[in-house]
């Protein structure tokens, strides 16, 4: 059983890695998309993104039962409650300038296009990334070619389950 968390700040390449893992036949869920997140009031004002825990619990439990590898991508404050259930916690990282460059260029996710959002990314990276790093079992610098990053992730999981056939 290998349930692996892929975490990291915006623009470190989580979505790209998850997309490639899916193409290689793995179950790889990007929790930034598809209803895995709810917004809750933050203690200091504003709102905070968090995992919908019943859904995440069901997702992980299904793979714990079947033994099929699962990659979960995301960075939310309540992910720590699930840490004991991840065999690996992989931090994807890149220098801030690279992150901001990717965010400016990306099409899929609009977050980070305004100066205010970029300021938030810089502040969040300083505050959050060290916490992620302290719990990570592996850190991958995503300036490496994507295929290489994905090779390293796939090696952690072993081969995909037979039922998880590669997409044509």
């Amino acid at each position: 059983m290998a349930v692996i968390l892929i975490t990291g700040m915006s623009g470190t390449g989580k979505s790209a890695a998850l997309g490639q893992l899916r193409q290689r036949g793995y179950a790889a869920v990007d929790t930034d998309a598809g209803g895995w997140i709810e917004l809750v009031p933050a203690p200091g004002g504003g709102v905070e993104r968090q995992w919908r825990e019943d859904l995440i619990d069901d997702l992980i439990a299904g793979h714990e039962r079947s033994g099929a590898p699962l990659f979960i991508g995301g960075t939310v404050w309540n992910q720590r409650a699930f840490y004991p259930r991840f065999r690996e916690i992989v931090l994807l990282s890149a220098p801030l300038a690279v992150m901001l460059e990717r965010i400016a260029a990306r099409g899929g996710n609009p977050f980070g296009k305004t100066a205010k959002e970029r300021g938030r990314i810089v502040a969040d990276t300083a505050a959050v990334e060290p916490l992620l790093r302290s719990s990570a079992t592996l850190e991958i610098d995503t300036r490496a070619p994507l295929a290489e990053v994905v090779d390293r992730l796939a090696a952690l999981a072993g081969p995909p389950a037979p039922a998880q056939r590669p997409r044509p």
């Binding site: 009031p41 203690p43 825990e53 019943d54 720590r80 409650a81 004991p84 259930r85």
Partner: protein, 186 residues
Amino acid sequence: MPASEPAPGAAPAPPPAAALRLRPLRRDEEAAFLAAHQAMAAEGHTFGLGYLPGMPWPAYLQALADHRAGARVPPGLVPSTFLVADAGGQIVGRASIRHELNESLMVEGGHIGYGVLPRHRRRGYATEILRQALVIARAYGADPVLVTCDDDNTGSARVIEACGGELDSVNVIPGQVTPVRRYLIR
């Protein structure tokens, strides 16, 4: 018939400790929670920390979510993560991971409080709960992790030692008969 299969009519073997998972309470498990709360209350312990009898279930879940996020934490308490221990789909215990220590937790209580329901004891679940709770305590920055138990609670002391606990001190608490052991886990 393979030896691992129970004889017809026999109670199924309890799930092994390796099958135990810490997870948040679910919105649909008020009845299971109440049963666990009553089973612990019957022997003078608390399962649902902060739970008041008759409290509406959504209000309790919201209070737990608040305390995890550090919002509306009652005076004298600290932000904490409350999780149940699930073995084979059944609640068998719980853990409370405190994100920081206050003066009283420094002496008694420590970073992690945990308990196993009476009818699920002696199966190694307590050690597994503590082992997994340590991962979360460290993710909140606890280093070393402080865990305490009563000086005469040999079962609990063994669990803490099995998880790498090193005895730091044994302290007499004003107003309490039994001294408290403080263990540090690095």
